[in-house]
């Protein structure tokens, strides 16, 4: 373990004995912090564990997920999925069959743990870029952490691959968004709710940027459809007490609940929802952040009959997904499940690797500018199906699916688009006709374009 760099406490004018006493306390605390936080660890085979010797001239990539604190519940699995992808790239297995690393070069990971603390994400991304000199960073989960690191990546002109469905309304030259944009998750699920459940929606979420913004878009969509917002409630991040919110839902009698709760609030809410005697026949829950992992934690009987909208479910029927689930379980244990965010963390690592390979094939040098240009337009046969990075807005063509949870904790897919949907970063319900087009080559100028017209839904040609 690496010793923490900053002195924890400073003492002035202390006797020798006292100094020793406090000193040992400080050292003890330092060891504890190091044990739980874990400083940056550079290793070529952290992911592989195979002992494939890091040659020293590998490609350094930052991996920034919290493995401690509230959000660790989710980010640890993202890290697992990322490690699986890097192992497969370095060893030439899985989708990387027949190759070995990036044209023979190994990917070296620099792993940091920001401890679910938004400020630490900012500091650690600076450290990754300035001190460790990584080529790019794979990481972040919450929008709050992305907003915290965005200025760093823009100022230092480095690249972040961000694997999470998010509220949209952002278009940076320094971020590749491989999770769903609003039109790939919200825009399909709201009409589905309106048609199948009814016009009255009750919106709940955790109290931070993503749920608030996401609900704002969803509410605008519902009103556009002719529906009605009968409630809008938020719970502090990490809350597990939902008596008040459930009581307000009972009073409002909505046709459906749209949940943007995250983390450990999810199992608590579903359990108390059922415990309060509300069945999915009366009021179904449509959720975005509720995935296979949370269902496993709450017990499938509490989610049965409720819905989630996602690009990927473990039950998606493709050969790539069968292989992915099998390989993931082989590496991390048979009782683990895969979910949409993990799949995005997995596929974005391959986007990165393919882009690096393209640069090497063309004999170029891997740096921010070349990686950015090479990543644009990359295609990959992901577990969810064929996906592609949109060359204009750096978001990803993804499938849009709605799943109804079964008694075995898996989703029965009740709605799916025929192929991947073109991402529209700006919510069209709020910013009609606003487009994001980065120039080629990207000179990092303002990419927003106003067309003022309705944008048509476009699909990826398979």
């Amino acid at each position: 373990m690496v010793e923490s760099r900053d002195p924890l406490v400073r003492f002035g004018r202390l006797g020798r004995r006292k100094f020793i006493k406090y000193g040992s306390l400080a050292v003890g605390a330092g060891v504890m912090t190091a044990c739980t936080r874990g400083g940056p660890t550079t290793t070529g085979s952290a992911a592989g564990g195979t002992g494939a010797a890091a040659s020293g001239d590998g490609i350094k990539v930052g991996v920034m997920y919290s493995t401690t604190g509230t959000i660790a519940i989710v980010e640890k699995s993202l890290q697992d999925a990322t490690f699986l992808a890097i192992e497969q790239i370095n060893q030439g297995t899985g989708p990387w069959q027949g190759k070995q690393g990036i044209m023979g070069k190994q990917i070296e990971t620099v792993v940091v743990n920001p401890d679910s603390n938004w400020d630490l994400y900012n500091q650690m991304s600076k450290r990754l870029i300035d001190e460790d000199q990584v080529t790019c960073v794979l990481g972040c989960y919450t929008s709050a952490s992305r907003k915290s690191v965005l200025p760093v990546f823009e100022e230092k002109d480095s690249i972040l691959y961000y694997p999470v469905y998010y509220e949209g309304n952002e278009c940076s030259s320094n971020v590749f968004y491989t999770g769903a944009a609003p039109n790939q998750q919200i825009t399909d699920s709201i009409p589905y709710c309106y048609e199948n459940f009814g016009p009255k929606g009750f919106f709940i979420g955790s109290d931070y940027i993503y749920p608030k913004e996401s609900n704002r878009i969803a509410k605008a969509e519902l009103v556009n459809q002719g529906g009605q917002v009968v409630g809008d409630e938020y719970a502090a991040l990490g809350t597990t007490e939902f008596i008040t919110i459930i009581n307000k839902i009972k009073q409002a009698q909505p046709d459906f609940v749209l949940s943007n709760l995250v983390g450990d609030s999810i199992p608590a809410f579903y359990r108390q929802f059922k415990d309060a005697g509300i069945t999915p026949d009366q009021i179904p829950i449509m959720a975005y952040p509720t995935t296979e992992e949370e269902i496993q934690a709450m017990g499938a009987e509490y989610a049965e009959g409720h819905y989630s909208s996602f690009n990927y479910f473990q039950s998606v029927d493709t050969p790539e997904n069968k292989a992915f689930v099998e390989q993931f379980k082989a590496k991390f244990g048979n009782n683990r499940v895969t979910n949409g965010v993990m799949e995005a963390a997995y596929l974005q690592t391959f986007f990165m690797a393919q882009a690096m390979e393209k640069i090497m094939e063309e004999g170029g040098e891997i740096n921010t500018a070349s990686l950015r240009e090479a990543t644009r337009g990359q295609e990959f046969n992901a577990p969810q199906g064929k996906v592609k990075i949109d060359p204009d807005n750096y978001h990803t063509y993804l499938y849009s699916r709605i799943g109804r949870w079964n008694s075995d904790g898996q989703a029965e897919i009740v709605f799916a688009t025929p192929s991947a949907v073109k991402p529209i970063p700006w919510s069209q319900a709020l910013y009609k006709g606003r487009l994001c087009v980065h120039p080629a080559p990207d000179d990092r100028s303002d990419p927003t374009q106003e067309t003022g017209t309705d944008l048509q839904v476009e699909y990826l040609e398979s």
Binding site: D207, I243, P267
Partner: protein, 324 residues
């Protein structure tokens, strides 16, 4: 850390919130009654989580910041018992008590014992301990949320007022009632132990005057050990009972720590009955405010009220007047 950032966020959104609640319509009397009845459910959780702290802080004066982690350990004992022996949740409660009491006893022997009379160091040490326990649990069980099966025979709702069309207007779930029952039972047991048994008399004697108790032949270090272990065991029971209603994860204890402290500080640390009053006050006022405004705002208001209260009544609401 997280709580502070959350507070910043809600003050930021306060204006928006107010606008949103205005559109929600007026207060429905049945719904409000339902809220107050269900507030009792919150009281039960607060009472159960605060009780262990009332022992370790109220009786022993140990500032135990690892209290939340003992609650978490209780929940993990339940999880472990269920996954290994498919045990019913009710049967795991004694194991949760014994398991956490044992860990509490080890903690007392190795850490707390060496720091009596030094509250600042105790505070630091227990805070460090909470990080260590969280880290160890994460190493053993991983950071993923864990599934605890609730007892299948405690489901459904007790309907107090049923509407004309058969809908439950005011109802409370049986599991919430079960939590309250366990909490009151544990409060009763604790009161009995403390005030009706020779052991309890010794505990109180040590708390009041350690030197004198020692002179009279009380084995003070054994009493300290037992009291601390008992307090931790109560936290373990809380964790076991709450686990199936809420989420089980390594940081779960942090959520209860603040609430438990608020309950104990509000109620007053001298009288155990103060815990009941503190839990009732905080639980009911919190749920009433949450109904009128919303949850995050209610939390801020209650927290601010507690701060004001301890400014003017640092000894809490229920305390014996002592001669200066």
């Amino acid at each position: 850390m997280l709580d502070f950032s959350a507070i910043q966020v809600h003050t930021f959104y306060l204006a928006q919130e107010a606008a949103a609640t205005d559109t929600a319509g007026g207060i429905n009397i049945y719904s409000f009654a339902n809220q107050l009845v269900n507030g009792i459910g919150i009281v039960g959780v607060l009472l159960l989580t605060g009780l262990g702290l009332a022992i370790t802080f109220g009786v022993m004066r140990i500032i135990n910041l690892a209290h939340g982690e003992f609650i978490m350990l209780g929940a993990y004992v339940t999880f472990l018992m269920q996954s290994m022996f498919q045990m019913d949740l009710l049967l795991t409660i004694p194991f949760a008590f014994l398991g956490t009491a044992l860990i509490g006893a080890v903690t007392e022997l190795t850490v707390i014992r060496r720091l009596y009379g030094r509250p600042l160091e105790t505070l630091l040490a227990t805070w460090g301990l909470s990080i260590v326990i969280q880290g160890v649990v994460k190493l053993i069980f991983s950071a993923q949320l864990k599934y605890v099966k609730s007892p299948p025979y405690i489901t459904g709702n007790l309907s107090l007022i049923t509407g004309a069309d058969g809908t439950q207007l005011v109802a409370i779930s049986y599991y919430r009632l079960f939590i309250i029952a366990i909490a009151l039972l544990m409060l009763g047991v604790t009161l009995y132990l403390l005030y009706q048994t020779p052991l309890g008399r010794q505990v109180r004697a040590v708390a009041q005057n350690r030197e004198m108790a020692k002179c009279l032949g009380v084995n003070t270090s054994l009493i300290d050990l037992l009291t601390f272990a008992y307090g931790c065991g109560l936290a373990g029971i809380a964790g076991a009972v709450i686990s199936s209603l809420k989420s089980v994860s390594p940081p779960m204890g942090q959520d209860y720590l603040v609430d438990a402290w608020m309950v104990v500080v509000t109620g007053g640390v001298d009288k155990l009955i103060g815990v009941l009053a503190g839990a009732f006050l905080i639980g009911e006022s919190g749920s009433a405010i949450a109904y009128i405004l919303n949850d995050p705002v209610a939390r801020v208001i209650v927290l601010a009220a507690v701060i004001v209260l301890i400014r003017y009544r640092p000894e809490g609401l229920f305390t014996v007047q002592k001669r200066a």
